[in-house]
Amino acid sequence: MAVSIRMEVNGQQMSGETEPRMLLVHYLREKLMLTGAHVACESSMCGACTVLVDGKAVKSCTMFAVQADGSKVTTVEGLKQNGAYHPVQEGFWEEHGLQCGFCTPGMILAAVDLLQNNPNPSDEEIKHGLEGNLCRCTGYQHIVNAVRSAAKKMQR
């Protein structure tokens, strides 16, 4: 039995039908064609599916689409504004914060959330702030550099 839902995704009103059991990440990927959020564990352990729901980082693999009804959702596709990269995106690019790129969208959104709550984090705070997101390629040091660099840019 399909259910009607409505949400604001990356600033645009979206409405559609979904099975009640459909996960938010599948709704975003399959119905809205926003494939930046990746499915890698389906248990909220890895964070590759992280999106912002009403401004907060959420693992979209352990949330039903119907639970996001009426919410504002931001995916990595919505971060670039007026053709300009978000400072966190810039940071990841400049500091080589990614290799295979699979964890990157989730990692970037987790970092955006982190910097909203703590605009000037120490390296240790960045490491603890991102521990819900796994990366198998970078060993995290360049990710920490990326977030630190973004924090500096955002304070200017």
Partner: protein, 796 residues
Amino acid sequence: MIATPNKVGQPIKRKEDPRFITGKGRFTDDIKLPGMLHMAVLRSDRAHARIRKIDTRKAEAIPGVVKVLIGKDIVGAIPPLPCAAKNAEGNHWLAGVPMNVPDYTALATDKVGFVGHNIAVVVANDPYTAQDALDAIKVDFEDLPVVMDPVKAAQPGSPVIHEQFGNNLVFNVPGGPSPEAIAATEEALKNAQHRAHIEIDNQRLIPMAMEPRAAVADWDVGRENLTVYTSTQIPHWVRTFLGLMLGIAEHRIRVVAPDVGGGFGSKLNVYPEEYLVVHCSRLLGRPVKWTNRRREEFTNTIHGRGQVQHIDIGFNSDGTWTAMKAKLYLDLGAYMMALTPGIATFTVVMMTGCYKPKAYCFEQVGVFTNKMATDAYRGAGRPEATFIAEKVMDTIAATLKMDPTEVRRKNYLTEFPATPPTGLVYDSGDYNKAMDKAKQVVGYDALRREQQQARAQGRLMGIGVCSYVELCGVGPSFLAPPGVGFWESCTVRVEPTGLVTVLTGISPHGQGEETTFAQIVSDQLGVPMENVRVVHSDTDAVPYGNGTYGSRGIAMGGQAMMMSIDKVKDKAKQLGAHMLDAQKESMTFDRGDIYVTSNPQRKVTLGQVAMAAYDFSWKGPGTAPPGVEPGLEATSRFEPSNLTFPFGTHICVVDVDKETGEVAIKRYVAVDDCGTIINPLIVDGQVHGGIAQGLAQSLYEDAVYDADGQLVTGELLEYAVPKSSMVPHYETHHTVTPSPVNSLGAKGIGEAGTIGSTAAIFNAVMDALAPLGIKHIDMPLKPEKVWRAIQKAKSA
């Protein structure tokens, strides 16, 4: 060597990144084709059982289910998977001994051999329905005795997994490398002033690339062509094996590895699901997608390591290592994937490390266990080898109360090319230089003094050293398993507009060759990096190539590109000479300018030459350059004369908490020598990620099966992949000793971090625990194990 570096050597940000940071990467699971169906696989929840009956009727009745297949449905359509390590005579391709390889079919028929073994596939209109249908399949099992411990499994009297072989031995190399070597080693052990016996359990690991394996098969009914998108490191090998196995003409198959979310060796096989998804697409005439779920990924994607190592060494009172005898029990799993039986060969040829013991011999016992197969995982046999050599060094140091760095120096190979007793020839190296730098950066002598004070205060501080040498740039084709080569290909094409297209046979999936290759081309041909496009991983676009693994991207793929660049330059000189009415021999090619050497004012640009090469309209009949074909491109294939041998020294400083057994890494210094560095940012990234994976083995990760054969660490909740808060700050440094094997001088850096860090961290913890008399704890050094060892030592 590159003459006047400009882009090469610079920390240039990557060309591939914009698509990833905006969520526009294109991974296999992102692909949607019209009319696409979804395949899911039923996996065994038993480790060893006979299949009595499979009832699929309920599954087939679910609306939206299109097809259900079990083992008997694919007999004749998908032959048993090939074990590439077995040659035409049925022998191990490198060791030459006979091998027992059971039929491994894409779906089990009469019995299952490990948790995760494929039993059935469902194809449905959507993935949720496919999962529902899996739940509706009923399998009636008859459980069989489970065989888990490789050492016990190798003994007579153990229950046998594959009855037809009579025992659990895949193969046995009882006397390597030769009878003479064994006799010499026994003699040297007898004559040594000191002897020691070491036992190491180099535990099984799970590669855990972030992107689970996935594939989309699209059988074009009208053209009878097949396109396969698959998360792989080896698109051309996938194409060849799909063709051979499924009876599809290879030239009708296009394999694309789109963006691939990490591999680490785990995507260096053609897996059962890749055959199954193609079979289903062909059967149903529609595109079919399959994506592994994480829980499945843990049980059915190859594991790594899994060696029990029994080592006897001899050494003299001055610290000279004289002899080593090793017996390796290999925990290979129930069925053989492509290289499963071959990985330990890289251990036995590298386990004397940077050193020169005169006498060396080994025994390899490959053993069946009711587990997933092991195969190549980052380092593939060399982390296991380095761990032995570095354990040997620290054992000698501890016995003789020598400094571990001095024992290493005492035993280093110093003349290059070097000839260790294993028969390899190390291309180039300077082990003392890397050691000097590591000691200087970390402040070694001061640290040892600090350690003395710490010990006086009862604190457990440890300093761990690892000097490694590994083999990369894989590698001469005689090392490759039957049916494939280890050479590499590249086409370099200057388009009419002067833009450059590079078509490479390697298949990067995070290593950044879209950038590093463009850096090299930019320097060599004098075009801006943005004018260089590197195409890879599409078998319809690029020449046959052998993929990415074994740290071969630059050393192999880069060298094939250099050969093509040289040919393009040569042709550009020929065309330029014709355009300027000069002789080719009198021309110079310098960064995109082609001029008469004696008069640089007489010049044409690469852009002008490129346009002339394509429009090819000269002044009239007979005025075209003689013997020159239109166009400006070249294809080359590089077959190296040898492997490359990167090396380095890592030093790690730890504190161990006496009360909790927790290990805290205070400093981590890595000095790596990968020859010429193309992009230091990317090299550091490779080293960091490598260290994190070695650290994972030392401290956290362990593929634990229980006595019933269940994978206890079958989810990310239990399998301890390091998080950002669990890694130290890495201090990375380099020495540069170019390799003579390729003109770039590059050695490779993909696996070095993992190879150096595992032993460095382990040795640091053991050094911390040394005052308590603790000599060895098997990895991973989790707080509980360390705490128990401390308690045991205290009560002793």
